[in-house]
Point group: C2
């Protein structure tokens, strides 16, 4: 069923992290600063992203570098965003 992927992408901070990393490799601190998010929160989310295979980790010295594991992930985010924009959200009524 692979609920994990969907659940993972459903969280806006996790999507922000993925977008932030993009095609680079980034350590936790950089992501944390870049997004102005608490370090521990970034860490928690990275753990979840790792668990679902959306990012990969590369330990180097003190720092841990993360990268998005497949370019298709960003592409998926892009098409979802476009699709989302094109939908007519119907609120209250």
């Amino acid at each position: 069923m692979n609920d994990g992927l969907y659940k993972c992408l459903a969280e806006s901070n996790r999507r922000r992290i993925l977008y932030c990393i993009g095609e680079k490799k980034m350590c936790v601190n950089s992501i944390s600063e870049c997004l102005k998010m608490e370090q521990s929160l970034v860490s928690h989310h990275l753990k979840e992203l790792l668990r679902c295979g959306l990012v990969e980790r590369e330990r180097r010295g003190k720092k841990n570098y993360y990268k998005v594991s497949k370019k298709e992930i960003i592409e998926l985010l892009e098409s979802a965003r476009k699709l989302g924009d094109s939908l007519e959200v119907c609120d209250g009524g």
Copy 2:
């Protein structure tokens, strides 16, 4: 930000409903029977799908017919499924 789309797709029963409807138009009862889900549950989920613009409703007599509002939605589900399958999920460790 349009969190709605992602949140909506993150729920497996809602995805099942979308897949079930596919390119057809279906009334609540049919969906309910087809997926062996309680009528009220289907109704609740359809309401959410409607709210996010993922389905559209067509009232006809007693019955309400629902259809997936854009074919891109099913396509997105498909690519997400494929991507999900290709990811190496890393559990406990």
